[in-house]
Symmetry: C3
Subunit: 346 residues, 3 copies
């Protein structure tokens, strides 16, 4: 794809100063600009780069006044950061629209229903009674087990696996290698030391506007549903166990694990490598620091937790500050002991 500076200015409601016929085919950072790309300048501390950038054009705020000669064209817009972000979205939308059609060989059971304008990649598998909504992108090597439903405008990247009976909403994005609906980890210990597998016959329900990272796993419920609510964002390599509920707009960073039957409220923010024990309830708007372990969550909303086991953030930091000085603390005790106990009872 290639656009002129003028076409981009029109798209963004801006005006060109420079050559309106400049050809632009990609985007760049202003400090790494290359010919044929467009960059942006919003933060004044990057102004210096605009005089040396090799980008063909730069988006700038309406009030920008160059103080040195420029080699690049300018596109004046109301808010250069917002305009650049719109441009990225538009770029991604156009790239995404290019994937349309059904590649062969793919496997679509006769009972599967596919909406309008689909992309179905080669080697994708759609089982019995699968329903895929409109404008979905089902990349190569995706597996949709029997009775899976996928809403409109959802993208499943290469190699996503969805077990039978699971439901995925609209405007979701699931990245490569993610697994939805694998068996919960449930085993009943037997008298002889072996374990009997507890049947896992529930499913996973993923609501609208959910993003799921690469190689993340969401287990099905033992009975009922593991439930990922509207607007949840899961990063890569996250583990969601059976019967977990994650509330709206909760964000979970990479390699975090949520144990069975835990219920997370809305608008939580979990950093990476966090562990949450099973059967707990996490209130809304809780923030959890990286590598924390949550066993006894607070009852109140809006707390910041840190550490394994986690304490409130400020308390954890206070204890950690002293932990680092424990050798000194020990010496001070020894000194006190020498003073006080030496000549008496030691």
């Amino acid at each position: 794809m290639e656009f002129t500076a003028q076409e981009i200015a029109q798209l963004l409601g801006g005006t060109v100063k420079g050559n309106p016929n400049d050809k632009i085919s990609s985007v760049s950072k202003i400090q790494e600009g290359k010919p044929g790309t467009i960059a942006f300048l919003a933060n004044p501390k990057y102004e210096e780069f605009i005089y040396s950038t090799r980008a063909t054009a730069v988006l700038v705020n309406e009030d920008f006044k160059p103080t040195k000669p420029l080699k690049t064209s300018l596109i004046y817009v109301k808010d250069a950061y917002v305009a650049f972000s719109s441009l990225l979205e538009e770029y991604q939308r156009i790239v995404s629209l290019q994937k349309v059609g059904i590649e062969e060989p793919s496997f679509r059971d006769g009972s599967a229903e596919i909406g309008e304008s689909p992309y179905i990649g080669a080697f994708a598998y759609l089982g019995k009674n699968v329903k895929v909504g409109n404008n979905c992108k089902i990349y190569p090597h995706v597996y949709l087990g029997d009775n899976v439903t996928v809403g409109d405008n959802t993208i499943l990247y290469a190699g996503v696996k969805v077990y039978a009976d699971c439901t995925i909403g609209s405007y979701c994005t699931i990245h490569s290698g993610a697994v939805v609906g694998s068996d919960g980890f449930g085993f009943a210990p037997q008298a002889d030391g072996t374990y009997k597998t507890i049947p896992q016959i529930g499913n996973v329900i993923i609501e609208d506007h959910v993003d799921i990272g690469a190689n993340t796993v969401i287990d099905c419920a033992t009975m009922g549903s593991t439930h990922i609510k509207k607007g949840v964002k899961l990063d890569n390599l996250v583990q969601i166990a059976h019967n977990v509920t994650i509330g709206e707009n909760t964000v979970v960073a990479a390699q975090t694990g949520i144990s069975g039957s835990a219920t997370l409220g809305k608008n939580n923010v979990l950093a990476g490598q966090v562990g949450i024990v099973g059967h707990i309830v996490l209130p809304d708007r809780t923030t959890i620091g990286a590598q924390s372990g949550i066993m006894n969550p607070p009852k109140e909303e809006g707390k910041i937790l840190l550490g394994s086991p986690a304490l409130e953030h400020k308390n954890q930091l206070r204890s950690l500050a002293i932990f680092r000085r424990l050798p000194d603390i020990k010496k001070r005790i020894e000194k006190l002991e020498a003073k006080l106990l030496n000549s008496e009872d030691q």
Copy 2:
């Protein structure tokens, strides 16, 4: 599938009170019961729900006496919990039996041998000299490298990858995205700071009745075998390095990692996100708490370990209790110092 209440009662050796012709096609929790489902009541504290449940039928213990009017049919059995569990197993068995046959396109090398009643999904790959036992389910996108053997009644879900020369036992279940037999992480440092890859030519042996979670990885041995013994249960996203041995009936929760050449005994229980260093021996019946790091395991069996680095559970909890109060400890020392040292040598 649809059954009558009478058919279910016969299967479980129970008796119907209500309409024996009620149609039942799924199961539910009593508090979430829907028409067309069967639930159970075992724990008296859930009794209230039986009077309002919308489930079509409820399994109850022989001695259950309703104290209010019921809208649901009852099926009296000796032990409602056990009966419900049997029902789930039967349900899962029937669902699983429905998958039979060979879907196309799949890739089966001419030298591959497949037992009776197989399910081979579309896009499954069976390399040279692969042997698959009777009643196996090989889902779509499974990869079995050359010389892999799979025992009877084993299920490999969509996208499982097994490298050449590995062996999988009977009655195993391996979930989507799990990788068996990838190279061990072995590199010899060179004088110039680069690393030379150490050839990894061993395999993985998985014995009978082993369950492996989604996206878990088990590396092959450098030489010889990485060995997962009978009855081991591994959760999702677990890392098992080269030359590890895991003893019978050991259970490993999600995101735990076992480093190279570690030997784990029998009947251990490892919680989630645990790390075990290489070349150690873990005695039988050890329990390890979540996020623990094991460097120096005890010699005795049956210990409970916690923390990173791990201590015996009780000792770790005692130190942690004081860690939380370190700011107070520090103040007490300062008070002692003020008393004792102030007027003397400070």
Copy 3:
């Protein structure tokens, strides 16, 4: 494959003592030797095993003098350990050479270019403008998105997924289930508590001689490139976030996570389950212990870090030693308090 003892001796520049026509088809450890295999003896403390091993032949150093009768043939070489290692490499090379050709069905867009002597497994997918170098092995179920380039002599094992526009160097090995180029985890919080996805339009550049473990994930850059430099070795289940740079010959063990925009220097060694926060710079030759959390890396090269949050190794160990004895520390303070404060102000 089968070789005679004489053929192996010739390959390694050694001499046979015993039957030069012995047939050898595999390798073994001396203490686990089986007929038809070759083992080695380098460390004198294993000498005892050479008198009982069932291996058909054993590689020994030139100066080895047996002190008891032998059942096995010997192959005398200059350095038995080095010779055995060469043998393993040769064995692996020969096994690897056996995979050549294009299996069907595979998907190769008309614009894809494939070098000489390729292996393209069944169900592999090569999108538009994909370029694969000479002597590459692309195993079954590999996905190469549009415009991906792969250098010479690179191996992508079954199920590797590479998103559009990413670049992979020569002599790389990527293991099953690894994902290269998934979207960075970037979301802009909105006033109503929802998140807007920030478009991720960058790519991943992987230089030469990089090894990547099974189910590891490397996100693309928001703009520009996530950059894995020459000679980097990543273990299994590692998370590399958007815009990370990893310097030459840095080694990262399993389940470690590197957050967005972090820059790691050269020749670092990161143990397993480490977490690195975003936007930091890690100097060259840093060593990080398992399960550590790095928030404030040192400025100096060559440090050893440990703990979460990490301290310099020795300081962390000193504090941990006292942490373990905190109950004793507390008692000593109580004793001091009893002495000093009892009769005064308490």
